[in-house]
């Protein structure tokens, strides 16, 4: 079934540990995104990639890094997790950027940093 997969589904992490959230899409979309969802704040963009090999910063990029080595994968890394990074993380993709295309979302990863 075409779509976006994220792993893990949920994770509890000790502060200071490194963590990579995985995201894979099989729709051959050019653009991919990472959002975090916090109660009362909606979803906020962390990083994005318009095409393989390029990345950009979103609204809340501090403490996170991404890479886009190929079209399908867009991992999000927390180099040294802090409790304020406790959130639900969504990966999304769209056919292209800049044209108002619908963004398709993955199922999310619930991350708790203690």
């Amino acid at each position: 079934i075409a779509g976006i997969t994220q792993a893990p589904t949920s994770q509890i992490l000790a502060a200071g540990r490194r963590m990579t959230l995985r995201c894979t899409q099989d729709m051959r979309h050019n653009a991919m995104y990472w959002y975090r969802q916090d109660l009362g704040l909606g979803l906020r963009l962390i990083h994005y990639s318009n095409t393989a090999g390029t990345t950009g910063k979103g609204e809340v990029p501090d403490g996170y890094s991404v890479s886009r080595a190929n079209t399908d994968d867009f991992p999000l890394t927390l180099a040294s997790a802090v409790p304020s990074q406790t959130s639900v993380y969504f990966c999304a993709s769209s056919p292209n950027s800049g044209r108002g295309d619908e963004q398709f979302f993955g199922p999310g990863t619930r991350l708790t940093v203690l």
Binding site: L43, N50, F90, S97, G100
Partner: protein
């Protein structure tokens, strides 16, 4: 920077009633898109409806329609004949046309449809 405001944190209606969710936004852009996304308890984000700012006609998708007032920067969602499956968080979102396709979301409205 763009901002999106949803002033109704929670709403509750009876099944089969019509409900309207409010959304206002602030931008200096003239070309943009507006979206309503639904997030049921499953946590999956689902596109409900999309509106291009240059189109004066309000978008409709079956029981879902919008009232887009560009001058007032208002983008409300109307759900007609509400169903139990409409129970969800609803997010309004803004996207500037061109460049990186960044969605700016509102805080969300939790809608409950009661039997």
């Amino acid at each position: 920077a763009q901002t999106v405001t949803q002033s109704q944190p929670e709403m509750s209606v009876q099944e089969a009633e019509t409900v309207t969710l409010s959304c206002t936004y602030d931008t200096s852009e003239s070309n943009y898109y507006l979206f309503w996304y639904k997030q049921p308890p499953s946590r999956q984000m689902i596109l409900v409806i999309r509106q291009e700012a240059y189109k004066q006609q309000n978008a409709t998708e079956n029981r879902f329609s919008v009232n887009f007032q560009k001058a007032a920067k208002s983008f409300s969602l109307k759900i007609s004949d509400s169903q139990l499956g409409d129970t969800a968080m609803y997010f309004c979102a803004f996207m500037k046309l061109g460049g990186a396709q960044k969605l700016v979301f509102g805080q969300g409205t939790r809608l409950t449809i009661n039997p």
